[in-house]
């Protein structure tokens, strides 16, 4: 079990994270927040790339920093910017990483074939990676994160560059792997994790906002999300008054999904809130740049 106790990170006067308390057991955890909210900082602390300024991260009761290589052997990590050597083939690169991961030489070849099969790259395992598309490189990144059959899989923006078919395959893959390991996925794309995550972790103003199931988080907006039909002319005024969550054209009118504290008009139709609604409502005033 992985436990974060009162974790905080400061860079001089700048506070990146504060008072983060979390507990990870086997399953999928979606770390959901806009860019710049501190997701990557938290991820980097989990994989020992940076140390928290305050608090402790414990694995089975022991601080991960004192566990050193014993802890790192348990991790599979996909960084936000997955680096690779262009002149290597996926097999060569994975063999190199397997060596640095300290994997048993007898099982390396079969593991490489297995993980490349999982990401549908086995056919091109001997091709140079310089010819690969962004999506293929990302799949090599996912394969290397799973190479040593790690107990803790940490993926930072894993679906960047993947097409819809590859995203669906990725979600199926995660579901099948999550039974006996911790999988932590950092993303700002709600659909990547909404259907597969056991728990969603949301960070706001450097602090933990939610750490709960999708349904529990969505229930925070129960009775506050509505849909209505407006004319184009009314839309600008409506936007000033309410937070719109979705707008789509239909039969020359606008169908608007929005948030309101109470039903103010009989024409409004109350709808079931989705995780995307919570995300948009919580981070409405935050910049999504950087």
């Amino acid at each position: 079990m992985l436990v974060l106790q009162d974790i905080g990170k400061e860079y001089g006067d700048f506070t990146a994270l504060k008072n983060i308390n979390l507990q990870f057991e086997n399953g999928i955890y979606g770390l959901l927040a806009p860019n710049g909210a501190g997701k990557t900082t938290l991820i980097k602390m989990l994989v020992t790339l940076i140390q928290p300024t305050n608090g402790n991260i414990l694995y089975n009761g022991q601080p991960i920093l004192s566990l050193g290589e014993t802890y790192r052997e348990l991790i599979g990590y996909l960084p936000q910017q997955f680096g690779y050597y262009k002149h290597y083939s996926p097999k060569q690169y994975l063999t190199y990483l397997a060596a640095l991961k300290g994997m048993d030489k007898q099982e390396v070849d079969s593991r490489i074939d297995h993980v490349l099969e999982l990401v549908a790259l086995r056919e091109v395992k001997d091709k140079k990676m310089r010819k690969f598309s962004g999506g293929m490189i990302q799949r090599v990144g996912i394969a290397q994160a799973l190479l040593s059959d790690p107990k803790i899989v940490v993926l930072d923006e894993p679906t960047a560059g993947l097409d819809p078919k590859e995203r669906a395959r990725f979600r199926h893959l995660l579901s099948s792997l999550a039974r006996d390991r911790v999988i932590i996925i950092s993303t700002h794309i709600v659909s990547d994790i909404e259907s597969v995550a056991n728990k969603i972790i949301m960070i706001k103003n450097k602090e933990l906002l939610h750490s709960d199931s999708v349904s529990t988080i969505c229930s925070t907006l129960q009775g506050k999300v509505f849909e209505t039909v407006l004319s184009y002319d009314d839309l600008a005024v409506f936007r000033q008054k309410y937070l719109t969550l979705e707008e789509k054209q239909e039969n020359g009118k606008m169908v608007v999904r929005f948030k309101s504290e109470k039903q103010e008009d009989d024409k409004w139709q109350s709808v079931i809130p989705h995780l995307e609604d919570v995300f948009l409502a919580e981070y409405a005033n935050e910049s999504t740049s950087g």
Binding site: E69, L100, G102
Partner: protein, 253 residues
């Protein structure tokens, strides 16, 4: 609940007890291996092909070796007309091959953005760097000694003294670089040390007229031996510190 008196309670035998005690001690009190043992264990696990040179490094350093030989020819030409710079140029240029091997290795990881991933693996980036720098220093010794022996055919000098001077230069640089990066920010400290080495030595060569050269020429061979021994000591101690450096501190200032 009645206890079946005839039921035998399984109890480990002496051998099993000893094995379990040994296991508990190994897990609870891991013995720290010697540096040499750790390096060989790492080599057995990873294999030399990933610890030492890859194809790109061989090509790049072949080019550097070519430049080094060219540099030596310039030194020998200068030496034949203006002997004052000879010792200083040898001392300053001795770590050239070592530096290029180490720098290229850094650069590859840096430019391909593989550092972040490799820092989370079992064998640390520092262990890999330490072993590579040990190997590169060995290559540096072989190349420096060969080139100086070749040079001695063309230019007349005290071969022993120049060999010791060159190896002192190599190991002072290598030991200094290892010492600089044994803690703190890897990139900043490496760049600072390399810049300081070049600026300091070239500054002395250019601005002290012949005093620096006279100082280098005037040092007795014995003293060069002492300097070489001290720099080897610095190299070994710093190598060990880098090898056992905690992975988690690489980008800290």
């Amino acid at each position: 609940m009645s206890l079946d008196k005839n039921k035998k309670i399984p109890y480990p035998n002496e051998k099993e007890i000893d094995t379990q005690i040994q296991l508990i001690l190994e897990q609870g009190l891991p013995q720290k291996q010697s540096l040499i043992a750790s390096i060989f264990e790492m080599k057995n696990q990873i294999g030399w092909q990933y610890v030492v040179l890859n194809r790109g490094e061989i090509l790049f350093n072949g080019l550097v070796l070519f430049i080094a030989i060219y540099y030596l020819l310039i030194v020998s030409d200068i030496a034949s007309v203006y002997s004052a710079s000879f010792y200083g140029l040898i001392f300053t240029g001795s770590p050239l091959l070592f530096l290029s091997l180490s720098a290229y290795s850094y650069y590859q990881k840096y430019s391909n953005h593989t550092f972040e991933l490799e820092m989370t693996l079992k064998y640390t980036v520092f262990q890999l760097l330490a072993v590579r720098m040990l190997f590169f220093s060995g290559v540096g010794v072989l190349v420096n000694v060969s080139l100086i022996l070749l040079l001695s055919i063309k230019v007349e000098f005290n071969v022993w003294q120049v060999l010791l001077l060159s190896l002192s230069g190599l190991f002072l640089f290598a030991g200094g670089l290892l010492f600089a990066i044994r803690k703190g920010n890897l990139f900043k400290r490496s760049l600072f040390f390399i810049g300081a080495w070049v600026a300091f030595n070239l500054g002395l060569l250019v601005y002290t007229d012949e005093h620096y050269e006279k100082f280098l020429v005037g040092l007795p061979t014995f003293l060069y031996g002492v300097i070489l021994f001290a720099s080897l000591l610095l190299f070994t101690v710093s190598l060990k510190q880098l090898f056992y450096r905690k992975q988690e501190e690489a980008f800290l200032c």
